[in-house]
């Protein structure tokens, strides 16, 4: 066996393990900061770890319309996010970035979104169907934003390779990277929606539709779904950092690596504060918001195709 190949696998695994270990920690940070903003003590930072272990030990009741699909959707959701994690640089060059290109990235992210739809369909109750219809509407208007970013990066760097794109490829223009800056703004404004937090968590609104697609999940499957959501936060932060704020990632280990996690922390902080200070949007209001962002994104795309 080729040593390179082994390092490749180990490197990918390392990324996955890091994500698995660290995702609940950021969730815990999010809950703690939210609590402090709400003048309360909040749960300990390690609470999501406890919650996940507890859920894993609970009885697995399969109560939806199609239990096989429920199982499939659960495992697929975590698997797709972790696969993205293998491809994304997290403080150093992604070990498996030769394995795929940016198009694969877009597809994998869409796949993780589709898992939620499958989950809701498998549950089959009225509320979960309402939840996935909201999720579908949101996805239709959100995913293109990410795709536009990738395309703009590809236009500038003339390549779809992940490592070129995810090291600030979007800024590589001759003069002022106007489209890059526009997309930075757009993605900042829609980041909250990608990670499905308030004000954009209408697909799983507890008070309105009883948790929507996740309604029929319990025990280990719920743990995996929740884990996938926590991992999404970390992975999307990594993507965002790679696309828009990659500076400093070339520093020697461990500084580059630490700087990366500091950036992730700052992003999580932003998500937390926004989540704690806003009310949830209705689906039609959210769609209008995304559509406006999409329009701006298209303008950026046009600029990019003209060299800006």
């Amino acid at each position: 066996m080729d040593l390179n190949f082994i390092w490749l696998i180990l490197g990918g695994l390392a990324n996955v393990i890091v994500i698995l270990l660290v995702a609940p920690f950021f969730q815990g940070v999010l809950r703690k900061i939210t609590a402090r903003i709400q003048s309360r003590q909040g749960p300990p930072i390690w609470q999501p770890y406890y919650d996940t272990f507890k859920l894993l030990g609970k009885e697995d009741i399969e109560s939806g319309v199609s239990p096989k699909m429920q199982r499939f959707a659960t495992y697929l959701s975590l698997a797709s996010i972790l696969t993205v994690g293998c491809l994304v640089p997290m403080g150093f060059r992604a070990p498996m970035n030769g394995a795929g290109d940016a198009i694969l990235l877009v597809y994998l992210l869409t796949l993780s979104g589709i898992c939620m739809l499958l989950a809701g369909l498998a549950a089959g109750s009225t509320y979960s169907l309402v939840g996935i219809s909201r999720e579908m509407m949101a996805m239709l208007t959100l995913e293109p934003l990410f795709a536009i970013t990738i395309v703009i990066g590809a236009l500038h760097t003339q390549s779809f390779r992940i490592d070129t794109l995810l090291s600030g490829g979007i800024y590589q223009t001759a003069g002022l990277p106007v489209s890059g800056i526009i997309m930075l703004g757009v993605m900042l404004l829609s980041f909250q929606a990608f990670v499905q937090r308030v004000p954009f968590d209408m697909s799983e609104a507890e008070t309105e539709i009883m948790e929507g697609p996740l309604m029929e999940y319990s025990g280990p499957k719920l743990a995996i779904f929740k884990y996938a959501q926590m991992a999404k936060l970390v992975v999307f932060s990594a993507l965002f950092i790679g696309l828009f704020v990659p500076w400093g990632s070339g520093l020697v280990f461990p500084f580059g690596w630490l700087l990366f996690w500091v950036k992730v922390f700052i992003l999580v902080l932003m998500v937390t504060v926004l989540a704690a200070t806003h009310a949830r949007y209705r689906i039609d209001q959210a769609i209008r918001y995304f559509a406006a962002l999409l329009a701006v994104g298209l303008v950026a795309l046009i600029l990019a195709s003209n060299g800006l």
Binding site: T126, P199, M202, A279, R280, D284
Partner: protein, 558 residues
């Protein structure tokens, strides 16, 4: 106009149909009319005299006068009069003419009378069961005097099926309840939705009956009932106990000492404060804004501690007895209360300012759950719901009780008739409550807290009392009786009327707005469900659909 003039108006128009009239004081009018003239009198009072419909009540008077009684309560808010149009129904096969075709808000009340007493409302547009479950045997009416309070019917039909109405074409059914995270108490709203838009709604409630009114006539005595009354609701307990003792005092023509009246006022306003702060937080939680929810409740907590200091409990104050109150405000507590009110005001002002300017919350509440002034009149909506639509009604000013005639305050109204208006009204009423408590603390004179009642209370007298609960008008009706207990006690909580207005509010709105619309009436299902049933859930029938209700309103016969 005073009560006598109103009576003269009625006498002029209806002359011989008026059998008898009682005016125990300036603000109460009880008019007994012939059954055949009931509908005409009610129409005249509601439309021409522009009175506000309050409630319809039934009573079993067969042991005393040989027939049933039906009361229709109205309020002349501008004249400060509470008026009751009373008629009799024969003991065997009792019937009265319906007034629901004139007054849509009487829909539930008449169905309740027919469930509880068997008095049929002839011509009722929707004569289905409201309170009794479907399996309940026919012909058994709980509030009749010949049915025991602990009687369990033997032929309860558990297999009677659930009969829903027809789903309108193109709609799916979204069941909202009986268990849902937003609802604290079980209620069932069957929403017919097209995509995300609600096209129709059916409501079925009364699932948690406790038999309170039956108990009050059978096993409890006058001074036991306030302890039960304050447990009717989980938030507005003081309101119900005050309204009950005031109704009894009204019937017996006794008056509590002045210090007791001030105490009642102070505790009522403290209750209003904690209820409104709770509600603002809850409304924010319903739209997904948990931070403001936590903050409102944090600001509210010292009020609960103060209530505990004064009365011994955070919520069930145990305050009222017939003829007075049990607790007093010592000088130390008075100082602490003033400090608390100052702090509360200081903390609430920035919260209100932040909420009023917050576009995010406004987006979720503007033009949502609209109930305009006409709907308020037709359905008899009360409280902040009506005031947000511009209706200037408030029992504290219109039918003064306790010490409200001795304090100054403003009645807050708004003109948008939507959930946003209700948020603003409730947020601003907090300041008025603080003003009232401060004035009471200034004006309270030392004195006795309880009246010395020498003899037994007179028997067979009518008493009504309207108290402004945080949710609206809470109206209690009492007929005094023998053996130290009332013959009849009827509780009409504000949510009883406001719930009838909900289907109109949510039509053509999105599902996401359902919860906040329902939440905006500040529903207190416990207040609404205080009539007797034994808790056996079984088949439910359709209540009334959206279209029928609107048809009712639009095509009313003149």
């Amino acid at each position: 106009m005073d009560a006598r003039e109103r009576l003269n108006q009625l006498k002029e128009k209806f002359g011989p149909a008026i059998v008898r009239a009682d005016m125990p004081n300036d603000s109460r009018l009880y008019v007994y009319v012939e059954p055949s003239a009931l509908k005409a009198v009610c129409r005249y009072v509601f439309r021409d005299l522009d009175a506000r419909y309050v409630i319809s009540i039934g009573a079993d008077d067969r042991p005393f006068s040989g027939n049933f009684l039906v009361f229709h309560d109205f309020a002349f808010d501008k004249d400060k009069i509470l008026c009751s149009i009373i008629t009799t129904a024969a003991a065997d096969n009792p019937k009265v003419d319906t007034i629901s075709d004139i007054i849509p808000g009487a829909n539930w009340a008449e169905r309740e009378i027919s469930d509880m007493f068997g008095i049929e409302a002839v011509g009722h547009p929707y004569p289905k069961r409201l309170i009794l479950p479907d399996g309940w045997p026919d012909g058994l009416h709980p509030l009749r005097k010949d049915m025991d309070w602990n009687h369990v019917p033997k032929d309860f039909d558990e297999n009677r099926e659930f009969k829903f109405g027809e789903t309108p074409p193109g709609c799916t059914v979204v069941p909202f309840g009986p268990f849902h995270p937003t609802l604290d108490e079980p209620a069932h709203f069957r929403l017919y939705v097209e995509g995300e838009v609600v096209r129709g709604c059916e409501y079925r409630g009364f699932m948690v009956h406790r038999g309170i009114e039956k108990l009050s006539e059978t096993v409890l005595s006058y001074n036991d009932i306030p302890m039960m009354a304050e447990r009717i609701c989980g938030i507005c307990g003081c309101v119900h106990s005050v309204a009950y003792v005031q109704a009894v005092e009204n019937a017996a023509a006794i008056k509590a000492p002045p210090r007791a009246e001030y105490m009642r006022t102070v505790m009522l306003e403290i209750e209003r404060l904690h209820s409104h702060l709770l509600w603002v937080g809850l409304a924010c939680h319903l739209v997904g804004f948990d931070t403001l929810f936590m903050q409102s409740w944090r600001i509210r907590e010292p009020i609960m501690w103060m209530a505990e200091k004064i009365t011994g409990n955070r919520k069930t104050y145990g305050l009222c007895l017939v003829g007075g109150v049990r607790w007093d405000i010592t000088p130390e507590i008075r100082t602490e209360l003033r400090v608390l009110l100052d702090k509360l005001e200081a903390e609430w002002i920035p919260v209100v300012a932040a909420v009023v300017k917050d576009k995010n919350i406004q987006k979720r509440t503007r033009d949502v759950g609209v109930a305009d002034k006409q709907a308020c009149k037709e359905m008899g909506l009360v409280g902040p719901v009506a005031r947000a639509a511009g209706a200037d009604i408030d029992c504290r000013r219109d039918h003064p009780y306790a010490a409200y005639d001795r304090v100054d305050f403003d009645v807050i109204t708004h003109d948008t008739a939507d959930v946003w208006g209700r948020v603003v009204v409730r947020a601003k009423e907090v300041f008025e409550s603080i003003k009232i408590v401060r004035q009471c603390l200034d004006k309270m004179e030392p004195g006795p807290l309880m009246l010395d009642i020498d003899g037994e209370l007179p028997v067979g007298r009518l008493g009504v009392s309207s108290v402004e609960a945080p949710r609206g008008e809470s109206h209690h009706f009492v007929i005094t009786g023998e053996n130290n207990k009332p013959r009849r006690w009827r509780v009409r909580a504000p949510t009883y009327q406001n719930l009838q207005g909900v289907p109109g509010m949510i039509k053509d709105q999105m599902i996401a707005d359902m919860t906040i619309s329902l939440g905006s009436i500040d529903p207190c299902f416990s207040c609404t469900d205080r009539m007797e049933t034994i808790d056996l859930k079984s088949g439910e029938t359709r209540v009334w659909s959206q279209d029928e209700l609107f048809k009712l309103v639009r095509e009313r016969k003149a």
